[in-house]
């Protein structure tokens, strides 16, 4: 095994806590049963790493097997690193007929055609997600396996989740995705989180949504069960209304765990105090950043408990309705609107 292979293996094993290494190696299925039994997980980490490296050399494993191990590790622990969402647009007529094998061939063919040295690995997970690992090289250098890009795509949806992509390689990846999925363009989704599961749940709507309807019976029934008949609420109707509003905006039950929402202001100052600030021509630039361990749950609680006055401002409900957490707010006519920059064609969206 060459130096790069050992360093990749080193890095993977060092990151995992000792108790999880055994499961991962079993899933990987490249070490024999005797070797697995011989590993003692109570020893210090560097001892385990050395043993694993020596077993891999015994079995004559190469970079392909090690990258397989890395992929398995990432698939099992999707909530590491920073993930960004992109959205495919302008689907062509036969986009719904794209199958896995076709996607694979087209994707690999395009990238191999553009870059001479590149290493691509595709895996389909049981929940219909395609995981792609790309180690980039260029026309003269071998692929760098220490900084791979990971891409997750669910076929026939328009979302792609990308981690660890540099600006240099962005254009190649985007071209390949657009061609392989038979769409016209791809644009930045303005959503980035640490947790892939949260991002997936939000965009693919895997949380419990509440839609506005004339009878908000569902939420009412849940509420009145726990209350004693002697306890009466004066502001019960208001409470119900607030709960309904908050659930419509942010979902019911456990919501996807977003961590931040960022609003970049490019508006003119409109306060009543200091007039010198308001008369200027240039923008009053500011950035408002919400951080939390569970942002959507906190916002929902703010609205439901009455800390924030309802109705929910569209700036906040846009997080779930549009699936983004980065917004640019500009002055446009009588109201405020936000602009999203697209990759291929500049388009303006109003909130």
């Amino acid at each position: 095994m060459d130096a790069q292979t050992t360093s990749v293996l080193n890095r993977i094993i060092r990151r995992i806590p000792n108790k999880n290494i055994e499961d991962l190696l079993k899933k990987w299925n490249c070490l024999s049963a005797d070797q697995l039994r011989a590993l003692d997980y109570t020893r210090p980490k560097w001892v385990i790493v050395e043993h694993v490296i020596s077993f891999c050399e015994e079995n004559r494993l190469n970079m392909k097997h090690i990258t397989n191990l890395e992929m398995i590790y990432h698939i099992e622990n999707p909530d590491r690193g920073t993930w960004h969402a992109c959205q495919l647009a302008e689907a062509q007529d036969d986009a719904v007929c794209v199958e896995l094998t076709q996607f694979k061939e087209q994707f690999k063919a395009h990238l191999h055609g553009v870059i001479r040295h590149i290493s691509i690995k595709l895996k389909k997970h049981e929940d219909e997600a395609i995981w792609i690992r790309i180690a980039w090289g260029d026309n003269f250098n071998k692929p760098n396996h220490l900084k791979p890009t990971y891409v997750v795509h669910h076929l026939h949806t328009s979302y792609v989740f990308i981690s660890n992509l540099t600006a240099k390689h962005k254009i190649y990846l985007c071209q390949a995705l657009v061609i392989a999925t038979k769409h016209g363009s791809i644009k930045d989704g303005h959503l980035s989180t640490k947790s892939l599961t949260a991002m997936r749940d939000l965009l693919l709507r895997r949380y419990q949504q509440v839609f506005p309807n004339a009878h908000s019976r569902i939420l009412q029934d849940r509420n009145t069960v726990s209350s004693h008949p002697c306890i009466g609420k004066e502001h019960g109707d208001h409470e119900e209304m607030r709960r309904q509003m908050s659930c419509e905006a942010f979902g019911l039950g456990p919501s996807p765990k977003l961590e931040t929402a960022v609003y970049r202001l490019e508006t003119r100052y409109r306060g009543t105090g200091d007039h010198s600030l308001g008369d200027r021509e240039e923008f009053f630039r500011g950035v408002v950043r919400f951080s939390s361990s569970g942002l959507l749950d906190s916002l929902r609680h703010c609205v439901a408990s009455g800390i924030a006055e309802g109705p929910v401002t569209p700036l906040l409900s846009a997080i779930t309705q549009r699936g983004r957490n980065y917004f640019v707010i500009t002055d446009k006519g009588p109201g405020v609107s936000s602009q999203a920059s697209a990759q291929t064609a500049p388009s303006q969206q109003t909130l």
Partner: protein, 183 residues
């Protein structure tokens, strides 16, 4: 402006009603559960509100309120301000023994001491008692519920010794001593 009056309705037999007013709605429901489960001798109705004035729609169905408890969380400035504005919606008859203040988090931090002093001055000017409660443990909530029930019994006229609410409040009302005023 419709004020909340204590004597405008007829009392029900063997029933007492307490109104808990709290703008955060944190301690309210726990206290309500504790009160309702504690009292076995007579019926207790608990009404929960965030602030006064109470919605007009409920006026018909609302029973006569025997005791109004204002719950103030000393960690929040908004809590105290909300109570001050709610007090203006009470008829002055209420202050003859039917209003009580319940304070939480009285021992945390320095801002709470200032707020406690201002609340005590407010209570003293209205001649009402101030209770301190500990709301984070179940025992604390139960203890507060028992104390409120004792006051409620007198306010609803159920005390066997024929103690009136006015007499009790003159015994328990908050007083502002001179060393508090020096702070």
């Amino acid at each position: 402006m419709a004020l909340l009056t204590p004597y405008s309705k007829v009392p029900e037999l063997n029933t007492a009603t307490v109104l808990l007013v709290e703008s955060e709605e944190e301690l309210q429901s726990k206290l309500a559960d504790a009160i309702v489960h504690h009292e076995k001798d007579f019926n207790v109705n608990v009404r929960l509100a965030r602030r006064l004035p109470l919605p007009v729609e409920n006026k018909e169905g609302r029973p006569r309120v025997d005791l109004m408890v204002f719950i103030v969380n000393l960690l929040s400035e908004h809590s105290l301000q909300s109570v001050e504005s709610s007090l203006t919606h009470l008829h002055s008859d209420c202050f003859l023994g039917k209003v009580c203040f319940l304070v939480t988090d009285a021992r945390c931090g320095s801002h709470t001491q200032e707020r406690l002093v201002s609340l005590r001055k407010l209570a003293a000017s209205h001649q009402c008692p101030v209770l301190c409660a500990e709301h984070r443990t179940e025992d604390g909530v139960n203890a507060a519920a028992v104390r409120l029930l004792n006051i409620l019994k007198v306010s609803a006229g159920m005390s066997p010794l024929a103690t009136t609410a006015l007499y009790l409040s003159s015994l328990t009302r908050c007083s502002v001593t001179s060393d508090l005023e020096e702070d």
